[in-house]
Amino acid sequence: MINSLFLINPSGEMFLEKHWKSVVSRSVCDYFLEAKEKALEPEDVPPVIHTPHHYLISIYRDKLFFLSVIQTEVPPLFVIEFLHRVAEMIQDYFGECSETVVKDHMVMVYELLEEMLDNGFPLATESNVLKEMIRPPTILRSVVNTLTGTSNVGDTLLTGQLSTIPWRRAGVRYTNNEAYFDVVEEIDAILDQSGTTVFAEIQGVVEACVKLSGMPDLTLSFMNPRLLDDVSFHPCVRYKLWESERVLSFIPPDGNFTLMTYHVNAQNLVAIPVYVKQSISFFECGSDGRLDVTVGPKQTMGKTVEGVMVTVHLPKTILSINLTATQGSYTYDNGTKLLVWDIGKLNPQKLPNLRGSLSLQAGAPKPEENPSLNIDLKIQQLAISGLKVNRLDMFGEKYKPFKGVKYITKAGKFQVRT
């Protein structure tokens, strides 16, 4: 299966390597680096590269390339999914996944990789199990470690693999027992010039943070589970009960995890919280153009729209811009031609507007396509699909947990064509 893993930073430096079978020379990465050179964006690097003796499967995540070397037939998704797990594991352990973090915790990352695969086949990928073998760093522990000279390897042998529930570690104890659930919904939409919806859908995810002692058995039910069109679950969820009663019944892993993701199928019913009035035009003759964008609230269910941000990839022929924003501020990077207008809260009384002139390089032809606008926004305390958690029950333990549910709506891939 997976022979080796290389972590590569955007400049092409391999700063970590791990081999699970015989050592594969670093030179194999040259094929990848070549492809990376060719690609305009890091995302454009093909995920699967065929070299004479190996196959390279890579992912690009958090500004890092995770490159795995394969020698024989294996489902590519298997590898891709695993590489994402590695990235998630690093994120989970150290709070973020970046080059510096990996370099700072080199030994630990290496040990984790050692545990995650055996002979290239996944062995322990559940964070609860891993954490029992190799403890994540905390400030207190790192102080203690430097004083006593111990490290983060679990001093007791792992039991998680052998526990009856593979994703939950045994012997969890908390003084405050809490369970929080975040219902996060993202609106994916494409609007055309006139503002009509070409395509819209809602992606939801229920993120959980469960800190409960013992072996709690939780049941989460929704007021309107019918809304959910397509779902996928963390392995802890009992699928059968969902099918029959539309409740989520599960023994949770300890800590943070994604309980479920869902899709709301409401093609025409998706409420689009903002509207965008825009006009971007370039004059045929002079090397000049105008940009005028206004954002206003549309269907917000009475909530305030926050964190509004408009991102535009301007055409390459733009020389400079001269804009004024009535609200918020804009930044423009002339290298990447990226215009970001950070608006903040939407005020229905006074609509934010960004207007001004764009100047093109002398002699350059007028760009054919107007750039599309990518919108970012956030609405607190609202699940735009109307999904509501009904109740959370706990069985199996005697204490009373503190329970909380939070709703957030965000813009996912929200694009306005111009």
């Binding site: 998704l77 080199m106 070409v198």
Partner: protein, 1123 residues
């Protein structure tokens, strides 16, 4: 090697010569000026006594390894610490060893003894980790040691160690392929393992070592299917892929029949309706040809019935479409694509579309597969068309793939929306993407006749685009389109001729020239002029353009020699001295062909025919066409080339191989002495066990589709439970045969079946039944077999009854006969020989009568019975499938005879004696009643007539359902009937009069509290949940001491189930037995748990909403347990 690398390291890794380039490490050069010193330093630290120093040194060494630096010269210093007590140091040393042992084989041998010691450690985790490291050291000398260690570990008690052994197998195999035979033995052994922990790993080993030994899977097939949902994600992927291959060799093509039925239009209608393009038609024809030949071959055979094992696989994988792991979803999707009947493949579309919202790499792979699938099964993705719309932020490779899918999905109904989308894409800044879009438009235009003109016009407009690439691509596509109907489009050709002045892209120029040459009759004036211009620039053109210029010249010469003769000569002369020999050759050849000379051969007569023949229009087809001969989701499919180690997905077999190979020998469970084994089994699926019933919800869909595929009877039996495969298969064939065969034939068939099924007795559910089978024949005198077991049988009966019921009614057999027949089917497990059974039946006649567990003696009641049963069936069956592994050892033990009570003594009854017992069957006409079986024995000399019930004196709320009047009971005969009594959940007696034609007797039936309830199925968690809600007043706890005979789980289970009509709830611990039931009338839950402790001490807990019942039940169970 080590010396040189040490030297390289010394220089800070910056000036490596022989070694691959290493990244800079700021720490290495700066702080320690000399690396020799550093390594000495590390060695010193490793030699010290302090663990903390060793640890620090090891950490630094591992960091070096991680950065890709060479640390091999430290090997001797490190290997000494392999026996270090400190677990952290040890772990790091292991990491080091695994990395460098291969390079320093001799020194590595020093560490082997440590691992060998570790293999014998009492702690399973140490055993496992020793094996893991030992097998990871790639040193050939230790192969025999590894082999020994693997063999030992494969029979280790701990499943975790066995898992490690499975992981070690491919390691050893790659080290020494000669060990294959030995390793296959180990694999075979581990495949038989019943734990979910091992399953994934061993299948992975199987795939790497001996994927061709598909025969090893037979016996484990059903087990793997059933375990699948509980296996960890990665194992699931491997198992599903392997089972796909397996199924392709073992089952018949489920779409075989459909292709038979679909003569002509059927398929078109199914797919949509764009089949007017030539490709599809041709393909269709071919396919139909093939099908027809196939059809004639198959037509004599019986209609297709899906093998139940095939169905099992489809059903058990379906829930995994909901997995969070994209690889699992993809694996299931490809399984359905390759194995499922057409009508069912659609379920995977939604899940695949879901994956499209994942990371871009996942999207990339999924889109590739969707592209392949959408060619074969367009209808599946049509509803999700919009999910494939392209965003400007998508990476180019994703855009192109989405475009491919959109093109595949295009048909008359959606083409207008798709074209509107395409219009926006053409304006994109990403030129590669625009080019792909233009090609996509071209393909849509060729495939869908209605929009051809629209597309053409759109493309012509693009010719005036500023971007040359766009224009060039359009030209190429237009050329292809024009070829389909050139007559109507001479103006377009004219327009294009003008473009030759501007367009520089060779491919486009070549296309234009070819067009003009081909259709020079349509543009008689322009063509020579174009040739003139081209002749001028000939020498500067690209090769493909030059070739087309020669072509154009030749064609013009043939059609319009007057104007172009000189030009042609000129061009040919130029070509004669071209650098490219291909062009020179072409020029020479053409000159000979077209210019008439005295020597010119016979061919020149035909020159016109040769050059101006009607050329077939090109076929624009998807690059993903026919990619599905690679298994979808595989690397090979993605690359469209066979990757190393790819296992070809075999074609369906013509005839199905013997399905009985999948049947499994069953160990005798009756004794169940091996405590160890049972414990382990429990550990396997303590939590999930409920998920096994998951197939429940999918069943309806399954059976529906079954009906569609023509095996109606199969659908009925399909429902009979997720685990009980062998039963299913037998039943299925049974009921199938019942439909069209006579009773006789049926019996014969069963005999055959029996012979088949005998030697390999199926696994899971049927194990008890077959075990029981044996037992039954041994102890024929035993009247009744285990309560919960009999329930399972009964479910099967009722199942077959339900399928039989129609015939029964129509057959109008006498009551007795019907009964007998039912018994035949009922009392025997499906694999039982009917003839033997008949004999036995005769012997057992009285016996069967006595414990007749058919609650509905008259045919008139059959129908309601079925209704009732079928509704409760699902839950019952869930219980069945659930309890299979955990409970089979206990349930086999008879819960004792049903206790009979006397209703009327022989003397008081003047020769008529009446007894009753609680049959514990659901009372069919009214589920709220307790079924009471009453047995009349006429020991008088004369016959008793018209036995019936009269004048019931009942407590308020109680109800009674009388048994149908018995008209005549001849002397010496015995007859049983069933009546229902609703006791209203109280133990008050029901008083009534029993009448004969001469006398009336006052009788009363008083139920023990344990009979007022009926068993229900629950999972452990449901049990806990319910128990949690029935605390306080509703809970009664009692301490007791179990007497010696009663200690042990079986005894407890037996006694409790005898005392009360409850069913066992699976439980992870053998110290605790749990039972659940509900009261018959009100349906209040009754939960009982017995926790045993040392020395026979035990605690009994009863939770019941009805406190009276609870208290009485505690008393009864206490009595049962302490007696």
């Amino acid at each position: 090697m080590s010396a040189s690398s040490a030297f390289n390291d010394e220089k800070g890794g910056s000036s490596n010569v022989g070694e691959p380039e290493y990244g800079h490490d700021p720490a290495s050069g700066g702080i320690f000026s000399s690396d020799y010193k550093r390594h000495d330093d590390l060695k010193e630290m490793l030699d010290s006594n302090k663990d903390s120093l060793k640890l620090e040194a090891m950490k630094r060494i591992v960091a070096m390894i991680a950065r890709g630096k060479n640390a091999s010269d430290l090997f001797p210093a490190v290997v000494k610490n392999v026996a270090c007590k400190n677990i952290e140091v040890k772990k790091l040393v292991y990491v080091y060893l695994v990395r460098y042992a291969e390079e320093q084989q001799d020194l590595a041998l020093l560490s082997i003894s440590t691992f060998q010691r570790g293999l014998k450690d009492p702690n399973q985790l140490i055993r496992a980790s020793a094996l893991r490291v030992l097998s990871s050291i790639r040193v050939t000398i230790i192969v025999p040691i590894m082999m020994l260690a693997i063999k030992e570990a494969a029979s280790d008690m701990s499943p975790y160690v066995r898992k490690t052994a499975a992981h070690a197998i491919p390691k050893l195999y790659s080290l020494d392929p000669e060990q294959k035979d030995c390793l296959i033995e180990v694999i075979e052994k581990l495949l038989a393992d019943k734990t979910t922990l091992v399953a994934g790993s061993v299948v992975m080993a199987f795939e790497e070592v001996c994927p061709e030994r598909i025969d090893l899977i037979h016996k484990n097939y059903r087990k793997l299917c059933n375990l699948l949902i509980d296996v960890e994600e990665w194992g699931q992927v491997v198992i599903i892929n392997m089972l796909t291959r397996y199924a392709r060799t073992q089952f018949l093509n489920p779409n075989m029949n459909e292709s038979l039925l679909e003569e002509g239009g059927g398929e078109k209608a199914f797919y949509g309706s764009d089949n007017d393009d030539d490709t599809d038609d041709e393909e269709d024809k071919e396919e139909k040809e093939k099908k027809k030949t196939e059809a004639t071959a198959i037509v004599k055979r019986k209609p297709y019935v899906m093998d139940p094992d095939h169905r099992l696989l489809l059903r058990n994988t379906k829930p995994l479409l909901q997995s969070r792991n994209a690889a699992v979803v993809m694996a299931v999707a490809q399984l359905y694509f390759h194995l499922a009947p057409k009508a069912e493949v659609g379920v995977i579309a939604k899940a695949l579309v879901r994956l499209m919202r994942s990371h871009s790499e996942v999207q990339y792979v999924v889109l590739q597969n969707v592209a392949t699938m959408s060619i074969k099964r367009r209808g599946m993705f049509e509803p999700y068309l919009k999910s494939f719309y392209i965003r400007s932020t998508d990476p180019t490779q994703i855009k192109v793939l989405k475009l491919e899918v959109l093109t595949n999905l295009a048909n008359e109904t959606n083409i207008s929306t798709i074209l509107r989308e395409f219009q926006t894409y053409i304006k994109s800044n990403d030129k590669d993407f625009v080019a792909a879009t233009i090609q996509a438009i071209g393909r849509c235009a060729t495939n869908i006749g209605e929009v051809r003109d629209t597309c053409l016009n759109g493309l012509v407009q693009l010719l005036s685009n500023r971007d040359e690439l766009v224009v060039a691509e359009s030209v190429v596509v237009i050329k292809k389109l024009l070829q389909m109907q050139p007559e109507q489009h001479s103006d377009i050709i004219k327009h294009m001729a003008k473009l030759t002045d501007n367009i520089q892209v060779p491919m486009a120029r070549a296309s234009i020239l070819w067009l003009i040459g081909e259709y020079c009759e349509h543009v008689p004036k322009i063509a020579p002029d174009v040739l003139r211009k081209m002749a001028k620039t000939f020498t500067n053109e690209e090769d493909i353009v030059k070739l087309q210029i020669i072509n154009l010249a030749a064609k013009l010469y043939l059609t319009n020699s007057k104007q172009t003769k000189l030009l042609t000569q000129y061009v040919l002369n130029l070509a004669k001295y071209d650098q490219n020999y291909d062009i020179r050759d072409r020029a020479r050849f053409i000159r000979q062909l077209i210019v008439p000379t005295d020597k010119s051969g016979a061919l020149s007569k035909y020159a016109k025919k040769l050059f101006l023949a009607l050329k077939p229009a090109p076929v624009l087809e998807s690059p993903f066409k026919d990619r599905d001969h690679f298994q979808l989701g595989s690397l090979s499919h993605l690359l469209n080339a066979k990757a190393g180690g790819y296992q070809v997905l075999p074609d369906w077999p013509e005839a199905a191989p013997d399905p009985s190979v999948r049947n499994v020998e069953v160990p005798e469970w009756t004794k169940c002495s091996s405590r160890e084994k049972r414990k382990e089994k429990k550990a396997d699926k303590p939590f999930y066990s409920d998920s096994e019933g998951e197939s429940g919800p999918t069943e309806s869909a399954d059976s529906a589709s079954d009906t569609a595929s023509g095996s109606e009877s199969g659908s009925g039996s399909e429902e009979s439970g997720s685990g009980s495969e062998s039963e299913e298969s037998n039943e299925e064939s049974e009921s199938a045969s019942e439909e069209d065969e006579e009773e006789e034939g049926k019996k014969k068939k069963k005999n055959v079946e029996k012979i088949k099924a005998r030697k390999p007795v199926p696994e899971s559910e049927s194990e008890p039944s077959s075990g029981e089978d044996v037992k039954k024949s041994e102890k024929k005198s035993k009247p009744r077999i285990g309560s919960s077991e009999s329930e399972s049988e009964e479910d099967n009966d009722s199942e077959s009854e339900s399928s039989e019921s129609e015939e029964e009614e129509s057959e109008e057999e006498s009551e007795e006969e019907t009964k007998k027949k039912k018994k035949t089917t009922a009392s025997k497990p499906p694999s039982k020989p009917p003839k033997k059974e008949n004999k036995k039946e005769k012997k057992e006649m009285s016996l069967l009568d006595f414990d007749d567990f058919d609650p509905a003696p008259s045919p008139s009641q059959v129908t309601p019975l079925n209704n009732f049963l079928s509704s409760s069936l699902v839950t019952d069956l869930e219980g069945l499938s659930l309890t299979d592994n955990v409970l089979s050892p206990t349930t086999i033990i008879p819960s004792g005879n049903l206790k009979t009570y006397e209703l009327l003594h022989r003397i008081t009854g003047e020769g008529l004696s009446v007894e009753y017992c609680f049959s514990r069957q659901p009372f069919s006409p009214d589920p709220h009643m307790v079924a009471v079986k009453i047995q009349f024995t006429n020991s008088a000399t004369s016959e008793a007539k018209s036995l019936h019930v009269e004048d019931a004196k009942l407590q308020s709320g109680m109800r009674i359902k009388e048994f149908p009047e018995i008209e005549v009971l001849p002397a010496g005969e015995t007859v049983s009937v069933v009546m229902g009594i609703d006791f209203c959940d109280s133990t008050q007696a029901a008083n009534f009069q029993l009448c004969t034609h001469t006398r009336k007797f006052f009788v009363s039936i008083q139920p023990p509290v344990g009979e007022l309830m009926m068993p229900i199925f629950m999972t452990e968690n449901e049990f806990k949940k319910e128990q949690g809600q029935l605390m306080g007043m509703n809970e009664i706890t009692e301490k007791l001491t179990l007497e010696e005979k009663c200690q042990g789980e079986h005894a407890v289970v037996q006694r409790v189930t005898t005392a009360a009509n409850l069913s066992r709830v699976p439980c992870g611990s053998d110290k605790e037995c749990r039972f659940a039931g509900k009261t018959v009338t009100s349906g209040s839950l009754v939960l009982v748990s017995v926790v045993t402790k040392e020395d026979g001490a035990a605690q009994l807990t009863v939770n019941c909403e009805k406190m009276v019942i609870g208290t009485m039940l505690v008393k009864d169970i206490l009595q049962a347990l302490t007696q």
